[in-house]
Amino acid sequence: MYSAAVLERVRNPRRVGEWPEGREDVGTGQAGTLDEGTTVRIQVRGDAGRIVEARFKVFGCSAAIASAGLVAEWLEGTALDEVRRITPERVVDALALPAERAHVARLVVDAARQALDDVMEKAGRRP
């Protein structure tokens, strides 16, 4: 049921990890709950108006793990004011996610946007 792109990202995920939330250059976002079966945590490290690194952790299905890996990859190198161009629809298309898994792409993008807001707030800029 999953595309090769999803399977590859589940079996060989990159950018898994976490940084201490207290770091001034790190923004953290979290979406979903354990009871719902999916929880996503995305962290971004910003510098000079760009995201220089992103990390994720996911408890969830293969689609959630693959989506988080893809969004973390897209985030790196992106200007802070360009992050909102990353949408759930783009994630669904890029990974050819089945319709019943589209909601996890939304959770991942929500977590990424929260991480962006957090890092911008820390940098003294309002979103």
Binding site: M1, Y2, L7, V10, R11, P13, V16, E18, L34, D35, G37, T38, T39, R41, K57, V58, F59, G60, C61, S62, A64, I65, E100
Partner: protein, 399 residues
């Protein structure tokens, strides 16, 4: 057993789902597709007589494995049909004062699904809860079974967690109220001794493909005299003493008989071997994976069954990650619906989904078990590193 799937080799550990046909069984079946092709209902020539001899020999072989008389075995297209004959058959013949069925929340859908529609024809269906062990609460059973109960249906061995129900105790409660006792004994047959007299059951369902026989053939044990309390749903032709119409699947039935004979001969040794391998798998999973619990651990169980819950990971991604073993899970990939059996044990949705069923079989080797445990340890470790909720102190978890 390692089987080719695509370009890789995958270890088959899903023997509760089905088993390969044993070579000795296949050999017994083959002549009945060609040379001995007759219809056993043909009474006027040797083609029919020979086919009938094959069927009757199989009937004796199947009956012998469960301590029944040959005439008490009714061949069907499988256990689902056998369950249907038992449940719908008893319901159709039951007097007006007995319109109640008692079954268990952890039964296979092949029992639950034929029971539930009876409600629309005025029946009451009680699905007994189980304890955390997976075993029926006998006090609850005693309260549920009344003089209005027509049938009590409780599986002997559970298809997911492998636990063996105290059938004789439940049968005593059923008979005390004049109800019939049915068991779906599909998973138990050929794995543990099944004696219909000792279990005190009136009806028992069996399937060939769970014990290295062919798919598409099963049987219902109908205790002598109980046929009078059954109204056959499939009629036409009068086969099987009028309890199941239709031309018999002769090669399948011959294969079922051969499978039962092999199982009867090899079961004691095979159960010991498989129990040893299962215990080894459990030990390796505890050592190498950590953060594991056995579902239904406190009850007697099938020797080839192990159902394990993994902490800190999600079930669907676990199944997708396990590319080197064929197992099944509480998680059905398409629906992500948790197992009704694990939920009935009191588990939450997330825990139920993070469980795997390992089903060992005749072809499983010690090497398979070692490889399977290593692969599970790799995949679980990898998913736990990805997971924000893994809180594991287990030594093996850092692998």
């Amino acid at each position: 057993m390692v089987g080719p799937i695509g370009r890789s080799t995958v270890i088959y550990l899903d023997h509760h789902a089905t088993t390969p046909v044993d070579a000795r069984v296949l050999e017994a079946m083959l002549p009945y597709f060609t040379a001995t092709f007759g219809n056993p209902a043909s009474r006027t020539h040797r083609f029919g007589w020979e086919a009938n001899e094959g069927v009757e020999r199989a009937r004796r072989q199947v009956a012998a494995l469960v301590g029944a008389g040959a005439r008490e075995m009714v061949f069907t297209s499988g256990a689902t049909e056998a369950n249907h004959l038992a449940i719908a058959g008893v319901a159709a013949a039951s007097p007006a004062g007995r319109r109640h069925i008692v079954t268990v929340a952890t039964e296979h859908k092949a029992v639950l699904d034929p029971c539930r529609p009876l409600v629309s024809s005025g029946w009451t269906v009680t699905e007994l809860p189980v304890e955390a062990t997976g075993l029926v609460d006998l006090d609850a059973a005693a309260r549920a079974i009344t003089p209005g109960t027509a049938l009590v249906s409780v599986m002997l061995a559970n298809n997911e967690i492998g636990v063996l129900q105290p059938l004789a105790d439940i049968a005593r409660l059923a008979h005390a109220q004049g109800a019939l006792m049915h068991t779906d004994a599909v998973q138990a047959l050929g794995k543990v001794p099944v004696d219909v007299a000792a279990l005190d059951v009136d009806l028992a369902s069996f399937s060939a493909h769970k014990l290295y026989g062919p798919k598409g053939v099963g049987a219902l044990y109908v205790k002598r005299g109980v046929e009078k309390r059954l109204a056959a749903p499939v009629r036409g032709g009068g086969q099987e003493r009028g309890l199941r119409g239709g031309t018999l699947n002769v090669p399948g039935i011959v294969g079922f008989g051969a499978a039962c004979e092999v199982a009867g001969r090899e079961m004691p040794e095979e159960a010991r071997r498989m129990g040893g391998l299962r215990d080894r798998l459990w030990q390796l999973l505890q050592e190498r994976v950590g953060g594991v619990s056995m579902n239904g651990a406190e009850a007697p169980r099938l020797p080839g069954n192990l159902n394990v819950r993994f902490e800190g990971i999600e079930g669907e991604s676990l199944l997708v990650g396990l590319t080197e073993i064929a197992v099944s899970s509480g998680a059905a990939c398409t629906s992500a619906e948790p197992s009704h059996v694990l939920m009935a044990l009191g588990m939450g949705r997330v825990e139920a989904l993070a469980s795997l069923r390992f089903g060992l079989g005749r072809g499983t080797t010690a090497e398979d078990i070692d490889r399977a445990a290593s692969h599970v340890a790799d995949v679980v470790g990898h998913l736990r590193r990805t997971s924000p909720v893994a809180r594991l102190a287990a030594a093996g978890a850092s692998r």
